[in-house]
Symmetry: C2
Subunit: 340 residues, 2 copies
């Protein structure tokens, strides 16, 4: 066992889209667990779009990332040393260890993993992204058989779960993704009824045309995780009493704007009124009391293959920022993790 | 009994704010009730902001008003002739008789009125506007004691009901209205905890400052019936998990815009996400199955005076358009009716 560890800190606030120089890889002494804590060797760390928001110094639903401290985030690994009765060395564990080779955390802030499943599933399909999808649909989706749901970034860990859960409930599902490979996966692997390539339909008008074909009865539920032209195409197709669950807007995370982003409030308000839409902000941490229900329901679906998932695995802590930038640009297909 | 009646028809589509020339007063033969119908002499007709939307030839939640036909709308009156067992001559009745001195309607489309109450209450506090307020709060308000609610046009039939119902449930209520007379009524007559004059605080920034003082703990529920600078002031003060019930936007009905109306969708989306807001379009016709519950609950409150109401009474069918324009500009204090 070495006596140092590696970590990545945020060196400065990004100016628009983040770049390598906004981060710094450091070697620091390996910490020792205090009473009730465990020391973990990270095997896979999670990359998630919400992290982009934390890199700015603005009020959001999450505290801004502190400069010169370990980049925060979920990770899984193996317990090296335990000062808690709840864990023994060798246990697989999920915790908030961030972009780092090792971490120390209170045992009660960690979750022991099912050894029958690959540990990385605790970062994706059975972790925060999968739970986000499940919790959003449970709390706000009001899914009814025969309705139509649309979701973008639909091969990703949130979008693919949204689509598959809606499909299991008897909805028509329309998935949006970028490029022929992902679009093929939507129907072949994730069972979407229709798939749209946003690279082919690059503006709101073209997207609207493609969606109108894919959703001939209109859209009842839109699970929003991208914003941008996809939203622009979806909005006019929303049905009476439609639900828009606003979970993210990756197209706008770095301050870029576009035609849809400029739609005036007056028009949105009129649409909400005329169609009696429900527009609902979603953050999974509001629903953590239901995480157990989620695992109970979805773990068997994953084990049986009824719910499928994909992972993109980058290798090496030093490649974490690059993998993160790529994910922000849609370079990943499934859940983006980094294997150490 | 005369053998003619008067009515007002829409002569053309308004170009922006409506003017007298958009309407025409006509004398036509008095119709005869068919089997199952009643003939009614109108005593009071209702003027409501939603009518402005119907005057344009655009898809909305209500059919556009047909040109050269009687302007639609609710009215109350006395049955002159009945070909239905449900009504007898002399009965007081509510029906959809529009801007007219008389009307014929199927008996089953009319409602017999409680003779203990002034018939005009069936157009306001115990009619569509009062029900709109009640239904919106019941279905979407999720009112919790100690929270803060804000509403504009707050001496009006919707706003005053919203404020009084919320106050009865233990919320802090903030009312917004135009001019010292109305502002005085908000606290003195309708029991609002705080009252703001939007003429004094005419832009979104000034409104925000006044609201921040009136709602020191932020705003949990905003019942939207105006749009414009009031909305601009409210938005940044919305609390986590706040509810915005979009019932109307009178400031924007004739296509005017302002700074708030131009707030970009991107910013609204971010706010919905960060604060996990619920933005919900409301139309009372979605809730008509609860109208009986509304009457059961609110009629005693009106009779006992626990729920107060105000009416503005214009006189004469020929003055209906003028009274309507005045209402659109906030010239009314309470429910605007026209007495014939």
């Amino acid at each position: 066992m070495t006596d140092t560890m590696q970590r990545i800190v945020q060196a400065r606030r990004p100016d628009g889209f983040p770049v390598e120089e906004d981060f710094r890889l450091e070697e620091i002494p390996l910490p020792s667990p205090g009473e009730g804590e465990i020391l973990v060797k990270v095997t896979h760390l999670s990359l998630d779009p919400y992290m982009r928001g934390r890199m700015d110094d603005v009020a959001s639903y999450a505290e801004p990332q502190k400069l010169d401290e370990t980049m925060g985030g979920g990770a899984v690994g193996e317990v090296l040393e335990s000062r808690s009765d709840a864990f023994a060395p060798g246990d697989l564990v999920l915790g908030y260890f961030g972009w780092a080779s090792h971490g120390v955390a209170p045992a009660k802030a960690c979750r022991k993993l099912d050894p029958e499943l690959p540990p990385s599933t605790a970062l994706g399909v059975l972790g925060m992204p999968g739970f986000t999808a499940w919790a959003g649909l449970e709390a706000y989706g009001k899914l009814k058989k025969g309705e139509t749901l649309a979701v973008a970034a639909a091969t990703g860990p949130v979008g693919s779960m949204v689509g598959q859960l809606a499909k299991l409930k008897g909805l028509r599902t329309v998935g949006i993704a970028g490029g022929p490979e992902k679009v093929g996966l939507l129907t072949d692997r994730f069972g979407f009824d229709a798939a749209i390539d946003h690279r082919v339909h690059g503006d709101a008008k073209a997207m609207r045309g493609a969606l109108a074909e894919a959703a001939p009865d209109g859209i009842d539920v839109y699970f929003e995780n991208v914003g941008g032209p996809v939203l622009g195409g979806v909005l006019p197709l929303m049905n009476l009493h439609g639900r828009i669950i606003v979970c993210g807007m990756i197209a706008w995370y770095s301050g870029e704007t576009d035609e849809t982003g400029s739609i005036p409030l007056q028009k949105v308000w009129r649409m909400a009124l005329v169609k009696r839409l429900t527009i609902q902000g979603l953050l999974q941490t509001d629903h953590t009391d239901r995480f157990g229900d989620f695992l109970t329901e979805v773990t068997p679906l994953v084990k049986s293959g009824q719910v499928s998932y994909l992972e993109d695995v980058a290798e090496g802590l030093e490649n974490t920022p690059k993998a993160f930038f790529s994910m922000l640009k849609g370079g990943n297909t499934g859940k983006q993790v980094v294997k150490l």
